[in-house]
């Protein structure tokens, strides 16, 4: 996703002189370094100073710029949180705060570098939009939206590198604030967002072998959430699976369950989120997710119990 981000920002920046990139000591590689070379006045490495970075982006946005601030997600949202809340959200400024390597991606770096509760925190701040693209394709659409149309601050939660695209002929177009059907199915609906969509496809393959078809949605915009479409999903499916690389508190599982209660949904929901614990596992993201009960194998085991052998 980093490469796609750099390429998209470079393209948008070459078209719009008001696009300015602020990074907190992230080494610019690929197209990002080209952006820095070509537009040095619009690429500022602020250093290890996230509070100043957000404050400065507010001042720039007040004067017509479209700032994109960029660093590892924990330092993008948590460290300068009050600046995001007061300088950006209270003043309603169109700044895009990009949190890279979100969720459990930086497993080997430990809890100081993980954001397992970022969406929960960000959702409670008025005016703050939250977008979490599932692949580089969606990331590009999200950047285009933030560069051209957005009127509010955005927390853009992204992956890191090597993510595959999950965009098919049958996939719906990306639209801010709307759930996006990625692939069609009849029996079970899988709701997810972010790079963990990969697991949704693994589960879809497993279900297929059991003659069960599944429909996968990318819930890329966590706020504002597409509640209307969710209602339609509740009408169409009696079985819903939620998969997210985020705490069980305040993420997609919370959103869907609250809506299910309000819609008097009679079907079953199985949600797979991170536990509300600081779990240590320094080998890999895959291993850390397993400790949270989020390996594909663990998810399938539970689904079997809930949906297949019921």
């Amino acid at each position: 996703m980093r490469d796609k981000l750099a390429k998209t920002l470079f393209f948008k920046g070459s078209k719009n002189k008001k696009i300015i990139v602020l990074v907190a000591d992230i080494s610019p590689d690929g197209k990002m370094s080209e952006f820095q070379k070509k537009y040095p006045e619009r690429f500022l490495n602020i250093g290890v100073a996230e509070q100043s970075m957000i404050g400065m982006s507010a001042g720039l946005a007040m004067n017509g710029f479209r700032p994109f601030v960029y660093t590892i997600s924990t330092f993008a949202l948590y460290r300068p949180f009050e600046m995001i809340r007061t300088d950006l959200c209270y003043q309603k400024l169109p700044v895009c705060v990009i949190g890279m390597g979100a969720g459990t991606i930086y497993a080997s770096l430990g809890a100081t570098h993980l954001t397992q509760e970022d969406i929960s925190i960000a959702r409670s701040v008025p005016n703050l939009q939250i977008i979490s693209p599932c692949d580089p394709f969606e990331l590009k659409q999200a950047i285009n939206f933030c560069a051209d149309k957005s009127k509010n601050p955005t927390y853009l939660r992204i992956g890191k590198k090597g993510e595959k695209n999950f965009n098919f002929k049958e996939s719906e177009i990306w639209k801010f604030g709307k759930l996006r059907k990625i692939v069609k199915g009849i029996d079970i609906c899988i709701l997810t967002y972010g790079p963990i969509i990969e697991k949704a496809f693994e589960i879809r393959e497993y279900l297929k072998k059991q003659d069960i078809t599944s429909e996968i949605y990318s819930c890329h915009t966590l706020k504002p959430f597409d509640e209307q479409r969710l209602k339609n999903i509740f009408k169409k499916f009696s079985k819903v699976i939620i998969i997210e690389d985020h705490s069980e508190i305040g993420g997609l599982a919370s959103i869907v369950k609250t809506n299910a209660y309000e819609a008097r949904y009679q079907g079953s929901i199985a949600s797979f989120s991170l536990k509300d614990e600081f779990i240590k596992c320094y080998s890999s993201q895959k291993d850390l997710q397993e400790r949270h009960g989020l390996s594909t194998k663990q998810i399938i085991k539970k689904i079997k119990k809930i949906f297949i052998n019921e």
């Binding site: 500022l44 100043s52 404050g55 400065m56 507010a58 001042g59 720039l60 007040m62 600046m83 209270y90």
Partner: protein
Amino acid sequence: MKIIGMQNNILINKKRCNSFRKKILELSQKVSALHIGGSFSSVEIIDCIFNLVKKKNDKFILSKGHTGILLYVILNYLNKITDKELENYCKKDGILGVHPDYGVSGVEASTGSLGHGLGIASGIAYANKKRDVYILISDGELHEGSTWESALLISSKRINNIILLIDYNGLQSSTWSKDTHPTLVPIDKKFKAFGWDAAICDGHNTLDIFSKIKKKKKGKPFALICKTIKGNPISFMKNKPLWHYRSPDKKEYVTALEELNKNER
């Protein structure tokens, strides 16, 4: 030349500042939680910026947002805020609260949480280097890491069109800053070490504030440490932490008004 001309206007400046203090006192009889002490220490500073220094396109940020009332009174004097809006200060249907809100005419940033102004100012200044950005912070804001983070950033990125005014009244809301942070001074040397030009002035002397700003070095951001007295010039308010928040009662109001009238002569 301008400085000589200003000397002739010392009385006019004093009278104008006095009228701002009187207006704040008047409003104090209608609402509570006014932050009168910190407002009275900043009168000459903000007055000097708005009425003597600031050019049309220049910007001013009140980072010590708790003295919003003073900003409103001056903006009202400049016809940016209507009498009605000012009268509705901290009232149910009013648009003016204790802390300034971005979007109100003449208010450049929502402030109130300390240590935010300098970061915002750096962005406003960087966005257009052809104008100056004035920002007033309290000495308490020098406790905030974010202020020093931005001070380092501003000089490093050569954002030289920033004039930072520090209301150095030495008092925080609870006590003297020399007690909590005895190593806060010398402030000017700290800024110089951070790559800024810096000077010290009498923050209640309009001529001194004005001339120090005019004498600032080009090619560097500038910090002016304005020595002030919290609650100045009211005898029973001066240097009293109690007056950080408090509104005067009827008797105190009358006494304060008398003192201001005497001050004018």
